[in-house]
Symmetry: C2
Subunit: 376 residues, 2 copies
DNA sequence: CTGAAAGCGCTTACAG
DNA sequence: CTGAAAGCGCTTACAG
């Protein structure tokens, strides 16, 4: 393995100068820089991250924590974040909680992050007080994605979940539905992020605004998965007097609902309409009406919000290219409400720097799974 | 930040002893170990990975390279691998090629891996000769997943793609189909892994065995995605005289095909049968007949094959627990053919240690998307 | 079983 | 703009 002093010797300079030249620091003459780069290339030199990190006091690594990488939203976010991080020269340390009860603590409270990363991104990660304490002790910059994950002092990139749910429910109301069920996240689930609470609130607000009573028998809790949606729907049908429409808290639940309804011999949307939230890759194939949320954009923006303050801390070696400008102009900064819904602005969480927090818009996508209720 | 000498001072021993005790080395007396552990806990000490890696000459990190983390197979593999690695105390450095033309080179041939990891896992990563040269220079242990990715000297965990395709095609033949189309991977795609070549071979072998001619107009190339399946099917229909059945090289393509057929007003399976390979999470919801392949198991086995030789090199600190035994006994080692198909054994690639290579079985899962052709 | 000391390969004030 | 030297926080022979 060639080391920095091999390069220094060949270029006829000190290792300090090699270090500076390779990182693109401005205090190196053009001639020297050229010689150093040529020597490094000739020797196929690559810096040792371990040594560089120890000496420099930075890890060049960002931890990304997701509940389940296999779910559409999280894999889409991670793909966008990975590209952003690598473009900026950062490594991505992936933590997948994977539904294991003890994993969240292991990641957040033990050596999972300690001295390992320069910054943290939590995606829809459920947090207890003890987790917040542990994160505080780490004293690292961070960002969260999803309204369900709030860390004091960290910006949050998200959609307006209450508004999205209100829009979904209103779509069903506008079609003439009155018996509208909601299937949502299970609060007993160790990995339940609180997003489902916001979405239920939107559902309830829309019903109330329409002058409809809240029927607890139409509100079923289950997990944010295909199976969860199937089980919730089966439970709903078991209760008798089925709803004419189901609003599922995410597309995967909605797909599970579609499956259960079909198995029960019910037609969609003639017998039961179904709407979700996400605009999953396969929503189109299934003809699922949904509230689209921009997953990749949330990842991209979160990465930028996280990296911007770190910029310049890391060497320019991996490419000093700025993150591509993909903002799209659709982001609303500062916490004002946006999106398909024109309801009241979301309440800002306590203490986070709203200036860097972002709420991205959602939009109703009507497909074949929703229609008016039967006339009878 | 507390350092190792803080712990040493409190425990009244040298830093060398702290280092040994914390890593669970056997050459420490029980009493000393206890004092050290107590001191470390009291000070909330966590080892500095950078320092440890520099001094120890190991990174404790494994690179995992996937084409697209958003695709079912890859996210499922990564989830299994992530759990395995973290259980063994390794960090997972994720590289997502993401369809970008230059990414593969950037990851494999530049500082993406150099001095950064102890081992490499390539999942369905297309490799050119120059990539192989670069990997050889890295001189690291590695493992690949998928028949499309073969690195000399590295074991490979995979299914028998030829057999899987043969079984899929034979299922359609057994139902009475004679005009069977195949939609498969695009060889022009920079990220095309050669898996689609194996699957096409199985398709052709099954047709030939049934005494049917190969009709090039029934063989359409496209990408391994939902959109790819849709486009390929549209192309197929455009050619006129549509097939009575479509064998798609993966479930995502099959789902795209389902979408295109529906849009064309064709019924499934009455007008056209559809079969894929994977048993994607949503295959059940869509009623898709498929050849199931064990994605998580392939990830788990690949992680084990990779970590086994490394065992003991890393400290026991992160938990000396062995990887859970989830082999299931279904794995066949040594290259003999298994699975739903009883055809000839797959040809072993040149030079890889077949002893550690594994071929996992696949199985036909019949759902609603396949049936006999119409009588007319 | 334990310790003193060298060394891992860089980066960073500091001085010039 | 450049270099000499200290130091980042560990691990590892080596010696006992």
């Amino acid at each position: 393995m060639t080391r920095i002093d091999d390069v220094a010797r060949l270029a006829g300079v000190s290792t300090a100068t090699v270090s500076r030249a390779l990182r693109g620091l401005p205090t190196v003459s053009a001639a020297t820089r050229h010689r150093v780069l040529a020597a490094a290339e000739h020797l196929e030199y690559a810096v040792s991250p371990s040594a560089s990190r120890l000496a420099g006091g930075r890890t060049g690594t960002v931890a990304v924590v997701v509940p389940r990488i296999t779910r559409w939203f999280f894999s889409t976010v991670v793909e966008a974040v990975e590209e952003s991080l690598h473009q900026s020269g950062y490594d991505l340390l992936l933590h997948n909680l994977g539904g294991r009860r003890q994993m969240r603590q292991r990641v957040l409270q033990t050596a999972g992050l300690h001295k390992r990363v320069d910054a943290i991104m939590l995606v829809a990660t459920p947090l207890r007080v003890s987790d917040l304490t542990a994160l505080g002790r780490l004293d690292l910059p961070g960002v969260t994605i999803s309204s369900g994950t709030v860390v004091p002092g960290w910006p949050c990139v998200r959609i307006d979940d209450v508004a999205a749910a209100r829009t979904a429910t209103r779509h069903l109301l506008d079609l003439g539905h009155r018996r509208i069920a909601h299937i949502s996240g299970d609060p007993d689930d160790e990995l339940a992020f609180t997003t489902h609470l916001d979405r239920r609130r939107g559902y309830q607000e829309a019903l109330r605004a329409a002058g409809l009573p809240l029927d607890p028998s139409l509100d079923v809790e289950s997990q944010f998965t295909i199976d969860g949606g199937t089980r919730a729907t089966e439970e709903l049908l078991r209760r008798g007097d089925p709803p004419t429409a189901i609003f599922a808290a995410c597309d995967e639940m909605a797909m599970g609902a579609v499956s259960a309804l079909r198995d029960a011999g019910l037609r969609i949307p003639q017998d039961v309409s179904v709407i979700g939230i996400d605009d999953h890759d396969l929503a189109g194939v299934l003809g699922l009406t949904t509230i689209a949320q921009p997953a990749a954009e949330q990842g991209l923006l979160a990465a930028r919000v996280l990296l911007d303050p770190l910029r310049g801390l890391l060497d320019a070696q991996a490419g000093s290219a700025a993150v591509a400008t993909t903002d799209g102009g659709s982001a609303t900064r500062g916490g004002s409400a946006t999106g398909a819904d024109a309801g009241p602005p979301p309440v800002a969480g306590g203490g986070e720097p709203a200036g860097r927090s972002v709420i991205l818009p959602t939009r109703l996508v009507v497909r074949a799974s929703t229609g008016p209720p039967r006339a009878d």
